[in-house]
Amino acid sequence: MIAATVNLESIKENYLKALEKTQRQIVVCAGTACVANGSLKVFEAIKEQVEKKDLNVSVKLESDKDADVVMAKTGCRGFCQVGPLVTVRPQEYHYVRVKPEDAAEIVESSVADDKPVERLLYSDPATGNTCKTTKDIPFYTRQKRTVLDECGKIDACNIEEYISHEGYFAARKAFTQMQPQQIYDEVLESGLRGRGGGGFPTGKKWALTLPQPGEKKYVICNGDEGDPGAFMDRSLMEGNPHRVLEGMMIAARAIGADEAYVYVRAEYPLAVSRVSEAVRDAEALGILGDDVFGTGESLKIKVLEGAGAFVCGEETALIASIEGRRGMPNPKPPFPAQSGLWGRPTCINNVETLATVPLIIQHGAEYFKSMGTENSAGTKTFALTGHVANTGLIEVPFGLTLREIVFGIGGGVTDDDGNIFEDGFKAVQCGGPSGGCLTEEHLDLPIDYDNLRNIGAMVGSGGLVVMNKKTCMVQIAHFFMQFTQNESCGKCVPCREGTKQMLRLLEDIIEARATLETIDLLERVASAVSKGSLCGLGKTAPNPVLTTLKYFRDEYTAHVVHGKCPAGQCKAFAMPEIDPEKCIGCGLCKKKCPVDAIEGEKKQPHVIDQDKCIKCGACAEACKFNAVIGM
């Protein structure tokens, strides 16, 4: 049987024709955060309302069926903070914080008519302006969305819609018009560096497999994304899985692989199912399979679920895991490019790296190089979280400053209640547990691989956690240490034991048992761990400690020398006192104190006996008049 080669142009044309016939498209964000906020209920409610109008509604646009209104679920659109998000096309009305109760009004006003529902539009807190479309919202206008462009716009599970955006055109070009050598050259020339953390030039990595002997080679897409605070790979796999597959196809063509794997973290079930569905749809159209674009080349992609081990993101550990073993790293060399999966040359790339590749093949290296800085071309996605007004997923060109990200896109620093905290900026932790802290003095530094490395931080996978002045940096260092210590696979002693010791030393500091020598010792153990560990996990585990020591040393000394936690977070240094001005003598605190440390007559100011107090904070919590201070 000879299968006809898929005709991308005609799929695109038919799809666009069908789209023209529909009156409205209603797009509901079904990314994890919006779903958590009830977006699926919103979807059902809107659908019900449209049906009530006797309109012919379809939940997926199919080019061979007629529909008046098409409803689609997308992946994350980045602005999770104000979700659930709903867009009505063609007017592109962008509704935020939509509830099922809003469905009738949306349908009445923007589906049956052309008017926006004013009260559901985003209002810019800085200017008070009402924003009809994303083109008016500063969170979006200051970004440059290229890799994420279709994420949140298109129906992730509709291959026809992806093709209608010229999806798979780049893969076809790579298979039918380019030689592997040309693909390497283009990608190398573009300056694309790996987005998974290390920043190794992608073209160079692919070229390394070229001289390797043997017919069989593999491509692996690393979708393990274990960094806490990072979710860009998840958003790409959920929001535009075909883009990831297309990148894998191009990589496979470049290195001559006929088998590929997507390794997805177990905590991401939606990503697993969307990528799997995308593979099935691409196979059904003959895009993947035995005769890719009529070239006679074959390519099969398998989806594998991880099983909850952070270290499996490390490439040699990931390979062990695919082979069905414990996911422990192996020494390099040999590099996977030389001897990887089942001992064959293997190219491992990050999800975002692969999703970037189709852009380069389609628009050329020059286009890509026109964005970013000299040594870091293109754009990077970041997960902006923590104490910042607008949290979410963003994409910006390299070279943007931290100030533009935190204050421009992020809308400024917030306090614990989410209100803007003027002058509240303290630090941004960048790059997760292998990264470091950026501070006030770095606010105007253009962000790229080399600039960050020079100051001891790193782009890493792109988590940006903004922290306000109420954050204790020693506790943050402790938090990351706890993470790496938990995740250490235990293969090598410096990592297994060293991280444990570092954690203890940090605990001593937080719990008021430390001296200046503790800090010295911490620094010495840190350097031993990073020198003596086998894989990147151990090598980079001390980074959060070292950068906080570098930029916030006075906070460490305040803990050990002055017996104070400057941020007021470490309980051990708390000195609860009752403000006699505020205390009305209700006695609530006295009742709650587990050690009877509070004394006082009814209606008289109470007093805390500092010798008995165990600093549990129960009194502060109990007092309705905020009379307990110093907690």
Partner: protein, 164 residues
């Protein structure tokens, strides 16, 4: 409940899973995933059965199963609650939520599952919905912007539902 019929039924399910994966050693992790989806944990006798079928030493299968956090060697509660303690959630107060839930259910760091096997409470590092931090999941459902009170209410709701 260890009559022959039940036992047979138990192993039939595993056999089917093994067959679906060509009883191939390299598919060990997908096999464990499938078995865990079926039983919600990995019973010891089944691990041994898998080892025999794949012609692997049981210790090796056990070694793989115990390496990965996702695999449970003990039965878990009917409602598995994951409190995210990733950076974003941590900064926004995940520990208070964890402690509130543990307190309510009489659980702690060592004891994660209630005696009636209704609840398991554990932390995970980042669920990838950091924009809504702090985040928890109860089985498949994700909840964002959680507070200790809200977490307590969710538990109450489940208890109500279970009573009904």
């Amino acid at each position: 409940m260890s009559c022959e019929a039940c036992k047979k039924q138990k192993f039939e399910k595993v056999c089917r899973i093994l067959e679906e994966h060509q009883a191939d050693k390299s598919n060990l992790i997908p096999i464990l995933h499938a078995v865990q989806r079926e039983y919600r944990y990995l019973p010891e006798e089944i691990l041994t059965y898998i080892a025999t079928s794949l012609k692997m030493p049981p210790a090796k299968v056990y070694g793989v199963a115990s390496f990965y956090a996702h695999f449970a060697l003990e039965p878990k509660g009917k409602y598995v609650i994951h409190v995210c303690d990733g950076t974003a959630c941590h900064v926004k107060g995940s520990i208070a939520i964890l402690e509130a839930m543990q307190g309510k259910l009489g659980l702690d760091k060592e004891k994660c599952t209630t005696d009636d096997q209704l609840f398991t409470v554990e932390t995970v590092s980042c669920l990838g919905a950091c924009g809504m931090a702090p985040v928890i999941t109860i089985n498949e459902d994700v909840y964002g912007l959680v507070t200790p009170e809200k977490a307590g209410n969710l538990i109450e709701e489940i208890l109500e539902k279970e009573k009904a």
